[in-house]
């Protein structure tokens, strides 16, 4: 790839320190995460609860202040911007929230919600703001009369559309979608995913798509990043990852996807136990406490991401053996 990636994250780390005057462990939410998102592509972040997906998403937009690492958006290092510069850059990147009931102010009309960002970014005059807000409303296929109503009058799916419209009103280039469908009914999920997919293609958006639903990720993402305890386990193009997963964690995750065809059964690999506490992660490979292939050496060094195929990297010290099919 010759073109410079639109979003480039290097060595991103976030440690949450205990409150002042109180003892407590440092929570290592994300540890040395690096990845790239080419312009106009969708990269998925998957992992179970507590794997640091949301923290990565928020750190990229600097809604959470990262402890270390750099985030380059179109060549601009987000982590080094002053508060004023950051506010100006904000219109280029927007966030879509998981919970459509918490993400809209109950005291504002939909019009006010959609125009808030335009007002903050100094879009004048008011007629322009109204026009852009109404265009955003139309883009998410909501009726124009929603403009003067309040969020509580809408259903979850409609509210999520409003959340998407709010992000689009600023005409961003990068969107971080944080589990945009996991709070919705299954029947609504498909609508919202299709809407996001259409908008992404039509507007050429670059997107970081956070989810724990592997089926959704496969549908919408070009590249998938598998996270565990704040570390990247495997990165691969979506097709490769689903056809030929390398990391034992990815394999366990994929085996948990329900089989839609009756009669066909897949061999389920059930992970034992819970994800360890990020306040006290295991030494070496963080996945070793639940890994079916763990050996003594796993407790030693932290495995780095090794290239195992075309644009396919996996962090496991037994990569070679797995590739040879010696173990599974």
């Amino acid at each position: 790839m010759t073109e410079q990636p639109f979003l480039s994250v290097t060595g991103l780390t976030k440690h949450f320190k205990p409150a002042a005057f109180s003892r407590g462990p440092v929570v290592r939410a994300i540890e040395d995460v690096s990845f790239e998102v080419p312009r106009g592509k969708v990269v998925g972040l998957v992992g179970e609860s507590g794997s640091g997906k949301t923290t990565i998403g928020r750190s990229v937009l600097r809604l959470v202040e990262p402890t270390a690492g750099t985030v380059l958006v179109d060549g601009v290092d987000m982590t080094k911007l002053s508060a004023r510069e950051l506010r100006q850059q904000r219109s280029r990147m927007q966030y879509i929230f998981q919970d459509p009931f918490a993400s809209l102010s109950p005291r504002m009309t939909i019009g006010q919600i959609l125009m808030e960002g335009l007002e903050i970014q100094g879009v004048e005059p008011r007629e322009t703001r109204v026009a852009r807000a109404k265009a955003a409303l139309a883009a998410v296929e909501l009726p124009a009369d929603a403009f003067d109503r309040y969020a509580h009058e809408f259903s979850g799916g409609q509210r999520q559309r409003i959340g998407i419209a709010r992000a689009l009103a600023l005409e961003p280039e990068l969107i971080v979608a944080d589990e945009p469908v996991s709070a919705l009914d299954v029947s609504i999920q498909a609508q919202i995913i299709n809407l996001l997919r259409d908008l992404q293609l039509r507007l050429g958006l670059t997107m970081l798509f956070i989810s724990h639903d592997l089926a959704v990720v496969e549908y919408i993402c070009d590249t998938v990043i598998v996270l565990y305890l704040g570390r990247i386990m495997e990165i691969a193009p979506a097709e490769t990852l689903y056809a030929n997963p390398r990391h034992p964690y990815t394999r366990a995750l994929l085996s948990a996807i329900p089989e839609p065809i009756p009669g066909r059964t897949s061999q389920r690999q059930v992970l034992v136990g819970d994800i360890p506490s990020p306040a006290n992660p295991p030494s070496g490979c963080v996945f070793r406490t639940r890994c079916p292939l763990a050996i003594e050496a796993c407790a030693g060094a932290v495995p780095g991401l090794e290239t195992v195929g075309t644009e396919h990297r996996s962090a496991c010290i037994r990569n070679a053996e797995i590739a040879a099919g010696a173990i599974s």
Binding site: Q94, F97, A102, S103, E116, I120, D145, R149
Partner: protein, 296 residues
């Protein structure tokens, strides 16, 4: 907007948060009763020079300590001043002192709470320890010291009462704003580049309105009582200016207490009635603004 667009999109009736709060308030009998008592009092107090012939400091030497009757409806006091006129003027002073001092303490309380919640951990700790300090001072002694420094009169009384009543409010505002700071729609506003004033006044203030309104009504009742207490002790509003508190002061004399009952009963009654009405109103407002009542 042109008439054409208005015809194209007929405005649907859409209940805003204020309208819904009013609907809940309307179904509360006690709160409506409070409002029904308070509104006539406010009207009478603010308009009395227009319809009552006597001024509060006019002396009628032919009518000392006169019992209520056709001329002086609520009687007269020891120097022949009309009780009703003094009662209404006293209400003016007492309510003005209460409302202004509560308004001042709301501004102080909100700003202190806002600084504590948005200023970071160090600022928060510093400010809140100061608030703790202000709260631990015994109110009566603090009041007496402040009043003896500030002196008597309307302005000093306002200052004393407003300095005493902001700490509790600032704690409530701080707690609300800290919770609000993590809410998704506030994070979204930050993600759109919102500045601190925008966050504070577009999201913080509207979502604190319920706290502020409820606190204001209940605190006005409290401030009326504080003013009465101070004036009763001779530290608040000084005679000849009338206030409900210094009118009650007359009851310290045994003769007045036993023989000229109307001289203290009317200000006492007005005080009780007003405070009670405001408390009912405050309760009603609290229920009306409680977000949980949306669930019913």
């Amino acid at each position: 907007m042109s008439a054409a667009t208005r015809v194209a999109t007929p405005r649907k009736t859409s209940k805003g948060p204020w309208l819904r709060a009013w609907e809940r308030f309307r179904s509360n009998g006690a709160a409506l009763a409070g409002l029904a008592i308070l509104v006539p009092i406010l009207i009478a107090v603010s308009s009395y020079p227009l319809w009552w012939p006597y001024a509060p400091n006019d002396i009628d030497l032919r009518a000392l300590n006169q019992a209520p009757g056709a001329v002086h409806w609520f009687g007269t006091d020891g120097v022949g001043r009309d009780i009703l006129a003094r009662l209404l003027q006293g209400g003016r002073i007492s309510l003005t002192v209460a409302i202004v001092s509560v308004a001042i303490s709301i501004v102080i309380g909100f700003l202190v709470g806002a600084i504590a919640s948005f200023g970071g951990k160090v600022v928060d700790n510093g400010v809140m320890r100061l608030v703790d300090l202000a709260m631990t001072l015994p109110p009566v002694i603090f009041l007496l010291v402040l009043a003896s420094i500030a002196g008597t009169g309307v302005m000093p009384t306002i200052v004393v009462i407003s300095l005493l009543s902001w700490p509790v409010l600032s704690r409530m505002v701080r707690a609300r704003l800290m919770e609000l700071r993590e809410r998704d729609f506030v994070v979204a506003a930050r993600g759109m580049g919102a500045s601190m004033p925008h966050l504070l006044f577009r999201h913080g203030l509207p979502n604190c309105i319920d706290i502020l309104v409820v606190y204001a009504t209940l605190q006005i009742a409290n401030a009326i009582l504080l003013e009465a207490g101070l004036s009763f002790l001779g530290l608040g509003i000084a005679p000849p200016e009338a206030s409900w508190g210094n009118m009650l002061n007359a009851a310290r004399s045994t003769i007045v207490l036993e023989q000229y009952v109307w001289q203290w009963m009317f200000p006492g009654g007005a005080l009780v009635l007003t405070v009670l009405a405001i408390n009912f109103l405050g309760d009603g407002l609290r229920d009306a603004f409680d977000p949980r009542s949306d669930l019913n």
